[in-house]
């Protein structure tokens, strides 16, 4: 039905369609990487393609989370005016693939050996119905602690290995008069932290069952209640002013030494770099206590659209360049994430990046690489947002007990399925 509509609209707007029909040597790219570091990272790809004779046509739609970009993409696709590729996240790729508007890169994938080099967990989103429809650009992981080393030395802390260690460390910081935990009280940040808490409390098996398979028994289990209790414990260590704070301001608190630690995805590293801080001497990156060996990931992908045949060559060139080892390394060094293929040398990466690459490889082999529910890689957006609602309401006190929280969680996820 949708397809019919899309074709119909495409015909109706055939004028617009032909007017927009892009130059065959041109790559049209819709994305929301407009901030300094991100734009610089993307520039690497631009130059790689220029070497092969392909021009780059940016279609940037600003707005961090990509909501505006996704709305623009919806309109472009409905008008039959497909971009060569678009930055996309997890389930969006699958939605568009189900609507039949994505291209097919299987040939290129075979030639380049993506099946083997890209982690299987990522292929769940880049392969639809046996066909490669997207090229993953990077792998972010969210179960990280970012610690200010000067503060850590001052309070005499060491790397926390368990949740109880972590609480003890936070207590030390509190006693020293530093804000122990820098948190931005926006629902996605709270839920991102909770992802790590669940993995730490219940272990890898439990995380997969509850947060990826949405198994009801796990969701209302005592382990889940314990996870909420642990979250409540962590929230007692934030400053009173945390509500509504942006994530990068929370990172800034750690950079400046106003706070000891932030639980955040590895994009936080970009902020440390921007402030000219080096890992090991100025700041420390540890896995969230009790989650070493597992990786909760999210990933940026370039969704490849079903463009007319004469534009396919440019698309293949883009996809090949995106997954080339040189680009994967150069881009991710700048972006703070790790390469989306596990066979990229880690020589150019800093200490945290090296650890990230090693962890990803280990997690991929050991089957402990899980999608982040908060970041939309655990379940479709409706469920992910219902989850964020519940976590956020728990943090801010609309939901008062962990018993109530698990009941609400099961209900909200059921509703959204």
């Amino acid at each position: 039905m949708l397809r019919k509509l899309l074709i119909g609209t495409a015909l109706a707007t055939s004028f617009a369609f032909s007017a927009h029909a892009a130059d065959v040597k041109e790559v049209q790219m819709l994305h929301w990487w407009t901030s300094g570091g991100e734009a610089a990272a993307l520039n690497v790809l631009k130059q790689d393609l220029a070497k092969e004779g392909y021009a780059w046509k940016d279609v940037p739609v600003a707005g961090g989370g990509g909501d505006a970009a996704m709305t623009a993409l919806k309109a472009m696709v409905a008008a039959g005016n497909y971009p060569t590729a678009s930055q996309m996240l997890g389930y969006t790729v699958l939605d568009y693939a189900a609507a039949g508007v994505m291209g097919d890169l299987t040939e290129t994938a075979k030639k380049e050996g993506w099946d083997k080099s890209v982690p299987a967990a990522l292929q769940k989103f880049s392969v639809y119905d046996g066909k490669w429809v997207a090229a993953p650009v990077n792998v972010h992981s969210v179960n990280w602690l970012w610690i200010n080393k000067a503060v850590m030395d001052k309070i005499g802390g060491t790397e926390p290995k368990t949740f109880d260690d972590f609480v003890a460390l936070l207590d030390k910081a509190k006693a020293a008069g530093v804000t122990p935990l820098a948190l931005g009280g926006q629902n996605w940040q709270e839920a991102t932290m909770f992802d790590s808490v669940v993995l730490s409390t219940g272990g890898p098996e439990f995380y997969k069952k509850a947060m990826n398979d949405l198994d009801e028994a796990s969701l209302k289990s005592d382990t889940m209640k314990k996870s909420f209790d642990n979250l409540a414990k962590l929230v007692t260590y934030v400053d009173p002013n945390f509500s509504g704070r942006d994530w990068n301001l929370a990172t800034a608190m750690v950079i400046k030494g106003d706070a000891l630690v932030q639980v955040m995805g590895d994009w936080a590293k970009g902020e440390f770099h921007a402030a000219n801080k080096t890992p090991g001497t100025d700041f420390l990156c540890y896995r969230f206590p009790g989650t070493d060996g597992s990786v909760i990931y999210n990933s940026d992908m370039f969704g490849m659209f079903n463009v007319p045949d004469d534009r396919k060559a440019a698309q293949v060139a883009l996809a090949t360049a995106t997954l080339s080892k040189s680009f994967q390394s150069a881009f991710n060094v700048v972006k703070g994430s790790v390469p989306a293929r596990t066979d990229v040398p880690d020589t150019d990466f800093d200490a945290c990046g090296k650890k990230g690459i090693a962890d990803l490889k280990k997690a991929n082999e050991g089957g402990t690489l899980f999608g982040s529910l908060a970041q939309g890689y655990g379940a479709p957006p409706a469920v992910a947002n219902a989850y964020k609602d519940v976590v956020s309401k728990f943090v801010h006190g609309q939901i008062k007990t962990s018993d109530e929280a698990v009941t609400e969680l099961v209900k909200a996820i059921d509703d959204a399925k």
Partner: protein
């Protein structure tokens, strides 16, 4: 009078004498309609057409993309169920109660404050020309600017509270913007700040339109100033109340951007209005049917309030 008659006499023979001119004058008659037709068609399609489309979508199971198979009123059933989930509050319950609180306070305070300021400014004071634009100016700002400015001002770590602490008043405490129970009132504060000056200007125009003779007559009859305003001026301002109410009501309904800029949704989504709910569900959660249903309910609610009010006000016109 005579000129009109002359032109008519002059025109009529020409109509009969030259058929070409008749076409031209017919065209001239049609011209306004032709010029208006595109905008009329655009309104029909893009306003009313899409209202119907939204209603249609709300009865489907549209998710990321519109789907055209009618599947029943499940979206409305869910909204209906959420309407009564108050503890813990569902997002929809929060949105509609916030709309009630915000809508009522915003309209009432803007009207009261606007009228009060207008009456004060109407006392033939010096420097009115300077004061009026000062009050009016906030209306020139977008909701986004208002929201961000007030966000900084109300933030306990940056704005008012921090400043007063630095000045030595350390017991001062004002963290409404961080408090799930009070955050909606900060939206009211910012909204009132922005709109009350404009409402003042409307009332001021109304006050200037009142016949001075009536006032003088009342004063001769011995009416006090209070009585004068209570019994004569305010009743005469009734049409201004109507216009102001309609302007404020639609501003209140579309305050989406104010909520986003000021609170980014508030702690745990506690500052949501139905417009935030609609956008969130349609575009972020890929639940287009639920989003559409909430939009339809917003439209119905607005209609239920505005139509009887318009009816009761406009019915009295002919007298």
């Amino acid at each position: 009078m005579s000129t009109v008659a002359e032109t008519q006499i002059k025109l009529t023979p020409e109509h009969d004498a030259r058929p070409g001119a008749s076409v031209r004058s017919r065209l001239q008659d049609l011209l306004p309609k032709i010029v208006l037709a595109p905008s009329f068609a655009a309104t029909i399609v893009f306003v009313y057409g899409f209202i119907l489309w939204t209603i249609y979508l709300s009865f489907t199971n549209s998710k990321t993309f519109p789907s055209y198979d009618i599947t029943g009123a499940r979206a409305y059933q869910r909204l209906w169920r959420w309407t009564f989930e108050s503890d813990p509050p569902s997002s929809w319950y929060t949105s509609i109660t916030n709309m009630g609180i915000f809508g009522f306070l915003y309209i009432a305070i803007c009207l009261a404050l606007g009228l009060f300021l207008a009456i004060l400014l109407d006392q033939k004071i010096r420097g009115e020309g300077v004061l009026r634009p000062i009050y009016l100016y906030p209306m020139a700002l977008s909701f986004i600017v208002t929201g961000v400015a007030w966000k900084w001002f109300l933030d306990p770590g940056l704005g008012l509270e921090q400043t007063l602490h630095q000045w030595g008043w350390t017991s001062f405490h004002f963290d409404w913007i961080k408090n799930k129970d009070f955050v909606i009132y900060t939206v009211v504060i910012a909204g009132v700040w922005q709109a009350s000056g404009f409402i003042m200007a409307m009332f001021l125009a109304g006050l200037r339109g009142i016949d001075g003779e009536i006032m003088k007559a009342a004063q001769i009859d011995g009416a006090s100033t209070f009585q004068l305003y209570r019994r004569i001026v305010i009743p005469l301002l009734r049409p201004v109340f109507l216009s102001a109410f309609i302007v404020l009501a639609h501003l209140a309904i579309k305050s989406y951007d104010l909520v986003v800029a000021l609170t980014s949704g508030g702690p745990g989504g506690s500052a949501w209005l139905p417009s935030n709910f609609m956008y969130e569900f349609t575009f972020k959660r890929n639940e287009m049917a639920v989003g559409s249903a909430s939009a339809v309910i917003m439209l119905m609610t607005l209609t239920a309030i505005i139509v009887p009010y318009l009816y009761s006000e406009l019915r009295e016109k002919p007298r």
